[in-house]
């Protein structure tokens, strides 16, 4: 996912944006052009027999679909899925351009049915994605409404992750339950907590965001469009973060990258840190973190996000696409996401998950908060550097 490769994806995204501002757009398909289904699109027959699915991201996403979900789906429904995967999500803009080109040329049936990519694409004004509801995909009733609202129902959250609090249970017997408890703990145990520099990893961002939410109204950020006026609340948050610095690791050293915090935790330099749920769980499973490290979610929760898949508005195989998504949201498949190598949260609400899946994240199997990112995110990182870093 994006945050794993922080240095790369924003650069590429920024480059595209800069090129667009410069007046020239990169030629569509200039990046690696994945092979299409090849065969002519089947007409909208009563029963779709095929499905074209494009995806991207880390290899565990690829493995999940190709090794687990798709074989089971093909067996259950007989629908053949043509799956194309873009490594690390590069070339996403090229795929978007390709879909848009089909809309612009008035094509009635588009050659891509399902697309899994960065959240921001689904709500762009170009209106390329189909709004769906529980009548189309029954299992949507199990999905928490805020995550659907976040993309105006134009895509399905099928997995997620959030930032959580990791702690060394040998040293910390009673982990803090709320954000204020956490702040008090940090002051009482100087040098034993760290969060990474916000521009380098999302887990550090989350700690700062929680402070922002402490001094500003959360609803303003998730229900309203961007307004620079909201950032006036941030002064108090940054002042609090700056005052916290002397109690942090090495009196205010912020490691670089999500892995930086995990490294400190691993070596016993700190006893607590903010980490990603999936990154830490995978590390624990692989024996890269000592068993004494446990995770928990505080209240109000650190932020997280879902990964979405969207159906294109004029997809050729709409029904098959909806079937795939419904299949994906079944608790059985969602368990694969939770208990497998991906170590993700389910897309559906935790209450629908079987208990063995819930134990994997016990302590953290709660709803997370959202952060709009975008312009707020850029400003947050820049202002943190100006006001808090030393």
């Amino acid at each position: 996912m994006k945050r794993w490769l922080r240095p790369i994806t924003p650069i590429i995204a920024a480059l595209f944006i800069v090129t667009a501002c410069g007046g020239s757009t990169p030629s569509a398909g200039g990046s690696a052009a994945p092979s299409a289904a090849g065969s002519a699109a089947t007409s909208a027959a009563p029963e779709d027999k095929e499905l074209v699915f494009y995806s991207g991201g880390d290899t565990n996403v690829q493995d999940l679909h190709t090794k687990q979900i798709i074989p089971a789906f093909e067996k259950a429904t007989g629908i053949k899925v043509t799956f194309t995967f873009l490594e690390h999500g590069t070339g996403a803009q090229g795929i978007y351009d390709r879909i848009k080109a089909q809309k612009d040329t008035g094509k009635a049936q588009w050659d891509i049915d399902l697309w899994e990519s960065d959240t921001g694409y689904y709500t762009r004004p170009d209106d390329l994605f189909l709004q769906v509801g529980a009548s189309d995909i029954p299992n949507l009733a199990k999905v928490p409404k805020p995550t659907l609202d976040f993309v105006q129902n134009k895509a399905i959250p099928y997995r997620g992750s959030s930032v959580v609090l990791a702690y060394n249970s040998d040293k910390v017997t009673n982990p803090p339950q709320t954000y204020d408890d956490l702040l008090a703990w940090i002051k009482a145990n100087p040098g034993k907590f760290a969060y990474n520099e916000p521009s380098t990893g999302g887990s550090g961002d989350a700690f700062v965001i929680s402070m922002i939410y402490k001094y500003s109204d959360y609803q303003k950020y998730v229900t309203q469009p961007f307004s620079a006026a909201n950032e006036k609340d941030w002064d108090a948050a940054f002042a609090a973060l700056k005052a916290l610095a002397p109690s942090l690791y090495s009196k205010g050293v912020y490691p670089k990258g999500n892995a930086g915090t995990l490294d400190l935790l691993n070596r016993g330099e700190i006893w607590m840190g903010s980490v990603w749920s999936d990154q830490s769980t995978q590390a624990l499973a692989a024996g890269q973190l000592p068993k004494s490290v446990k995770i928990t979610q505080i209240n109000p929760a650190f932020n997280g996000g879902a990964a979405y898949i969207g159906i294109t508005k004029n997809a050729t195989h709409k029904q098959a696409a909806m079937k795939y998504l419904n299949f994906l949201l079944e608790p059985a498949q969602q368990s694969l996401i939770v208990t497998g190598a991906m170590s993700g949260y389910p897309g559906i609400d935790w209450q629908y998950m079987p208990s063995d899946a819930r134990t994997r994240f016990s302590g953290a199997d709660k709803e997370y908060r959202l952060w709009p990112g975008g312009t707020y995110g850029q400003d947050m990182q820049r202002l943190w550097h100006e006001k808090v870093a030393q």
Binding site: T19, P26, T90, G260, G268
Partner: protein, 286 residues
């Protein structure tokens, strides 16, 4: 030119420099300190690569393990990246040489218009922050389709190598007595023949030194390759760079050793060319 030696007072603060014993002792201390400064950091990396378990405050790992070496060497990304790094570097060096040596010769021997300005311009790649160039270059690459291509990376590496090659070879050619070349021409050789038989062999030490710097510069290049080479062309430094942000110290340590080893082998081979006389010749007795 004779230096004006001032009148000598009886005792001076720097008397100890002339005392051979003290000088020898100080030099020994200095050499030892330098050995520690240069060698020990590299040694700690080697230790980390074999560390099964190494927690503070132990000075050496408490458990040794080959596990990380196994993990790394079994990873096809590693062998691919190493192969890529050490095959791109010679290509870059060769291409740069093909382009820069003629330019060096021209600057040294021929009447190039605006010679001084051009030489200054040739220094710009070093004067402008490389990372700024790379970002602009990436935008250009997207427009002309060079992103994520082999040649895109080669051309980018050449930015760093061009300066060395041009300046060093210019100085090298300048230091070769023009009479030798004229004599060959007068004896009937064509300009090309004179170049290859007379000038080039004499310029070899400088060219080798320049090639060495270029090769190492290409192997070292991480930032630009990270931007324009992903996702398909991952060189060793890029891989190492992304690994340093991972928290498995031993894995990054193994990588570092793997990346440093061929370079150090090159060091042993290149020892003889790095004597000051060669470099002086190469740098045109700077």
């Amino acid at each position: 030119m004779a230096a004006q030696v001032p009148a000598l007072p009886a005792i001076r603060l720097t008397w100890w420099i002339d005392d051979a014993r003290i000088r020898r002792m100080l030099l020994r201390l200095f050499a030892a300190a330098l050995a520690v400064f240069i060698g020990i950091p590299l040694l700690t990396l080697v230790l980390w690569s074999f560390a099964g378990e190494w927690f503070w405050p132990n000075l050496i790992p408490t458990q040794w393990s080959l596990r990380w070496w196994q993990e790394v060497l079994e990873n096809p990304r590693v062998t691919n990246a190493m192969f890529l790094s050490f095959t791109i570097a010679p290509v870059v060096t060769l291409l740069t040489a093909l382009v820069a040596i003629p330019a060096g010769y021209a600057f040294a021997r021929l009447d190039v218009p605006f010679r001084r300005t051009l030489l200054l311009l040739f220094l710009i790649p070093n004067a402008f922050p490389r990372i700024g160039l790379y970002v602009s270059l990436a935008v250009l690459y997207y427009q002309i389709g060079l992103i994520d291509t082999y040649w895109g990376i080669v051309f980018l590496h050449m930015i760093g190598t061009m300066v060395y090659m041009t300046w060093i070879t210019t100085a090298t050619f300048r230091s070769i007595d023009p009479h030798l070349e004229e004599a060959a021409r007068d004896a009937g050789a064509s300009p090309l023949r004179a170049f290859f038989s007379v000038v080039l062999p004499l310029a070899m030490p400088g060219i080798i030194v320049a090639s060495l710097f270029s090769f190492l510069a290409s192997v070292d290049e991480a930032q630009g390759t990270l931007i324009v080479g992903t996702p398909h062309y991952i060189t060793m430094p890029v891989l190492l760079y992304t690994l340093i942000s991972s928290f498995q110290r031993p894995v990054a340590a193994v990588f570092s050793v793997l990346l440093a080893l061929p370079s150090l082998l090159l060091l042993i081979v290149a020892q003889r060319y790095l004597h000051s006389e060669y470099v002086a010749a190469g740098l045109g007795r700077v």
